[in-house]
Symmetry: C3
Subunit: 353 residues, 3 copies
C-alpha cells in the first residue's frame, strides 16, 4: 500500500510540473493533481507518524493534530488565493460529512462484515459528541442565523470572534486530552499510543522532517494547479462549484486518512478508526475552518464563517446521526450502511443542486 503511494507521488508530481508548463488539458491535469495529492498525503502521514513515535505521546499528539489536515489546509489556502470562497466552504462541509458518514460508515460496514460487533471507547465517543454539537450545531449555526440581520462588517466581526474562540477551545481540548486528563481516554492512550511505542519509527527524526517539508512543498505546488482546473472541470462535467467542493475536493484531501481508518477497522481496532474519522472532523471544524477565516483576512476576498443552508443542514444532520449511532460505543455493519446511505443521499442532493 505504502509503496503504491510512493510510486504515485514520484511519477505524479513531475507530470504535474510538465503539464503546468506545457498547458495540458484541464481533465488530464485534474486527474494528475488528484492522484499526486493522494500519494503525497500518504507520505506526509508516514512522516508525521514517525515523528509522533520519536517525540512521545504529548508532542506527538500535537504534531498529529497540526499536520493531520495539512493537505486540506493547503488546498483551501490556494483556493482562497484564487478567490474561490464558495469552494473552500464547500470543501470544509465535504470534509465533515465525508469523515462522519463516508469514512466512519465504510469503517463500520467493512469492519462489521468481519466482526459481528465492534467496540470503541465510550469516553471518547462522549467527548467527541459534545464537541461535534459545539462546533457544528453551535458555532456554525450561530453565524448563519445571526448574520441574516447584520451587515457585512458585523458578519466578519462575528466570524472572527467565533474563530478565535474555537481555536482557543481546540487548544484547550488538546491540553485536556494530553495533559490534565491523560490516561482518562482509553482510545488515545492504551490502545493506539501503547502500540505505537512498541513500534519503531520508520524514519529518523531528521529524515522525517525533511520528507515532511518536501512533501508539503509539493502538495502546495500541485494544489495551486488543481485549483485552476476547477472552473473548466465544472463546465465540462456539469458539476457545480458546490459539488466539486463537497464531494471531489473533500475526498481527495482526505483520501490517505480514509485508507488508514479503513485498514484499522478491518483489524478490529475500532477505537483508533473512530478517533481518526471523528477526530479529523473536529479538527476541520474547530481548527482548519476558523484558521481559514483568520487567514482570509490577509487575502483579497475575506471568508465569513457562513455556510449555505444546504451545507449547514448536511453537516448538522450528519453530526446528529453520528452522535446517536456512536453514543453506545458499539458498531455493526448495519450502522455503517446507515451512515453510507446518508452520505449517498447528501451526495445526490449536492449533485442536483
Amino acid at each position: 500500500m505504502n509503496r503504491i503511494f510512493t510510486i504515485v507521488s514520484f511519477v505524479g508530481v513531475p507530470l504535474v510540473v510538465a503539464g503546468s508548463f506545457l498547458h495540458w488539458s484541464s481533465v488530464i491535469m485534474f486527474i494528475l493533481c488528484c492522484v499526486s495529492i493522494i500519494g503525497l498525503s500518504a507520505i506526509m502521514g508516514r512522516a508525521t507518524e514517525s515523528l509522533t513515535i520519536i517525540s512521545g505521546p504529548r508532542i506527538g499528539g500535537l504534531l498529529n493534530a497540526t499536520f493531520g489536515n495539512a493537505v486540506e489546509l493547503i488546498i483551501a489556502i490556494f483556493s482562497l488565493k484564487a478567490g474561490l470562497v464558495g469552494i473552500v466552504l464547500a470543501s470544509l462541509t465535504g470534509s465533515v460529512i465525508g469523515n462522519l458518514l463516508l469514512v466512519l460508515g465504510l469503517s463500520f460496514f467493512i469492519g462489521g462484515l468481519k466482526h459481528k460487533r465492534q467496540n470503541f471507547s465510550l469516553r471518547d465517543a462522549r467527548y467527541n459528541a459534545g464537541l461535534l454539537i459545539f462546533a457544528i450545531i453551535v458555532a456554525f449555526v450561530i453565524p448563519e442565523i445571526f448574520s441574516q440581520g447584520m451587515d457585512d462588517r458585523g458578519t466578519i466581526s462575528l466570524s472572527i470572534g467565533i474563530s478565535v474562540i474555537m481555536i482557543l477551545l481546540y487548544l484547550a481540548g488538546l491540553f485536556f486530552k494530553l495533559v490534565t486528563h491523560r490516561g482518562y481516554f482509553t482510545g488515545s492512550d492504551k490502545e493506539s499510543h501503547g502500540e505505537q511505542e512498541e513500534e519503531e519509527a520508520e524514519w529518523s527524526k531528521g529524515k522525517a522532517i525533511l520528507i515532511l517539508l518536501l512533501a508539503t512543498a509539493a502538495v502546495a505546488f500541485v494544489s495551486e494547479n488543481l485549483v485552476h482546473t476547477f472552473e473548466d472541470i465544472g463546465e465540462r462535467f456539469g458539476w457545480s462549484e458546490l459539488f466539486i467542493g463537497v464531494i471531489i475536493v473533500a475526498i481527495v484531501g482526505n483520501a490517505a486518512e480514509h485508507a488508514s481508518a479503513l485498514i484499522l477497522a478491518v483489524k478490529n481496532k475500532m477505537d483508533v478508526s473512530v478517533e481518526i474519522a471523528v477526530g479529523s472532523t473536529l479538527q476541520v471544524a474547530m481548527f482548519v475552518a476558523p484558521a481559514l477565516v483568520l487567514i482570509s483576512l490577509m487575502m483579497p476576498v475575506q471568508m465569513p464563517l457562513v455556510f449555505t443552508v444546504a451545507e449547514l443542514v448536511a453537516m448538522i444532520t450528519a453530526a446528529l446521526l453520528t452522535i446517536v449511532i456512536t453514543l453506545d460505543g458499539e458498531s455493526n455493519w448495519f450502522e455503517g450502511l446507515t451512515l453510507l446511505a446518508a452520505y449517498l443521499i447528501m451526495g445526490i442532493g449536492f449533485f442536483f443542486l
Copy 2:
C-alpha cells in the same frame, strides 16, 4: 375486543356499499368508512399474526413488516389516485407523530399508572434511534432544504433517489434483524416471538391468507369511498386538508395497532409495545413513504418527498423527543404524559394552521 372489531366490519362494510350506491351524506359515509376501516385492520392484524406464528420468526417478521401498514398504504394510494398529494404527505406525518407521541405516550402513561417503572430493550431503543434520525432527520430534511434551489425535475429525481436508497436500507435492516444479528435484539426474539411460539395460530394458513385477501379488498373499497368525503368534511367542520391528513386519517389508519400497543403496555410487555409504536413509525418513514413516491410515478400527479415546514418540524421534534425519552430503556407515567402533551400541542397547531 376482537369480537367487537369483527361485528363492526361485518356491519360497516355492507353499509358503506349501500351508502355508496344511495349517495348518503358525506358525514355519515365518513363515519361509516372510518369505523369499518378500524374493524377491518383489526381483522388483518389477526390474520397476519396467525401467518407469522405458522411461518416462523424470519418469514413472519417479513410478513409483519409488509402488512403492518397495509391499511395506510391502501388509503394513501387511493388518495394519490384522487390527486390529493397534500393529504398523503399529511397522513404520513400524522402516522409518524401519532405513533411516536400518541401511541407511545398512551402506552407509557397508562402502563405507568399501573407499574412504577417499565423497562424495554436498550439495544432496540438504540437501533430505532439511529434509524429515526436517519429517516426523519436526514432523508426527509434533505429534499425539503435542497429542493428550494431546484426545479421540479431535480426535486423528483432527488425524491426517487432517496426513496430507492431508503427502501434498500429498510430491507437491509430486516436482513440485519432477522438474519445476521438475530438473537441480538432481546425484544424481538426472546419476549415476543418466544411467546408467540407457545401460542397456537388462531387460523390455519389457508384461512388466514383468504381472510387477509378479502379484508384487503374490503379496505381498498372503503378507502376509495373515504377519500371522496374529505372535501365535504373539511368544508363542513372547518378542518383543513392538513388537519384531516395529520390527525384524522392517521388515527383511523393506525387504530388497530394503537389498541394492541396499549394492551401490551398494561400487561407490562413494554418491549413489544415500544416495538409496535416505533417499528411502525420506521416502516412508515422508510418503506411506506418512499414506496408511495415510486407508486406516484404511475399516477396523474407525482408526489415528491417534500413535506411542508410545519410537517417536517413536527416530525423532527417528535423524533428527537422520543429518542431522548427512550434512550434509557425505562418509562414511567410522566414520560408518557410529556409525549402526549407534545402531541396535543402539535394537534392544536395543525388545527389553527
Copy 3:
C-alpha cells in the same frame, strides 16, 4: 457572602427610592437597580430556603419551584406593563442560555479545576433532558413555525393553548417528583434534602414569610425603575433591546441563583448545582414563560409565545449541547469550558445583531 447581599440591599433600595424622586441619570439608576435586585434576590433565596426546611420536602419543593424565579417574573411583568414584549422574550431566552451555558459552564469549569471529575445523578439528567427537549424544542419551536401561516388571532390562541398545556405538565412533573416517584431521584432526595434536614432553618416561619413579602415588594418597586432605564441605556451604550434582554436582564435576574450553583460546584455537590441550573431553566421555560403569556392577556399588549429565529436557535442549540454534555452524569473542566465558549459565541452574536 450573605452579609454583602444584605448590606447591598439595605443601601441600594433607599438609593433607588431617592433616585426615582430626584430623577437621577439613567446610568446611575440602572446600576443601582441591578445591584439592589441582586442583593434582594439573595435575601429572597434565604427566606425561601428557611421555609423549605420548615415545611418539609413536598411543600418545600413547591415553594422553591414558585419563588425560585420570582424576581425574573416580577421584572418581566413590569416590562410587559411598559409594553416591552421584545425585552421579555429576550430575557426569557437569556435566562435559558444563561442557566444552561453560563451557570452550568462556570460550575463545571470551576468545580472541575478542583476535582478531576464530578458526578451527578443520571436519572435527573435524563428527566431534565426529556423536559428540555419538550419545552424548548417542541413547545417553543411549534408556535414559531406554525404562526408563520396564521393571523394574529390564531397565533395568540395557539400560544394560550400551549401555555396552558405546559403549566399543567409542569405541575404534573412536580407531582411526579415530589409524590409518585419521590426517592427515585437521588439528587433531589438523598443529597440535597437529606442535608437540609440536618440543617436548621435560619429564620422562623413567620419571620421568613415577612421577609419574603417585604423583599418581593422591594423587588417590584426596583424593577419598575429598572425597566424605565432600558431605553436610555440602550441608546447611550449602543446596546440593542435584544442584547439588554438576553444578557443584562438575564444575568441580573438570576445572579443570586448563579452564586449558589457555583459555591455548590466547588464543594463537589454537583447534583444540587446541576439541579439549580437546569431546574431553573425548566422553570423558566415551562412555568414563567407560559405564565407571562397568560398574564399578558390582561395587559395592553399581548405577548405570543413567538421568539425571534435567533433567540430560538440560541435556546435550541444550548439545550442540545447541554443534553449531550450532561447525559453521561459526569463533568470536568473542559466540558465547562465548552459550555462557556458557546455562551460567549452567542453573546457576541446578540451584541452584533
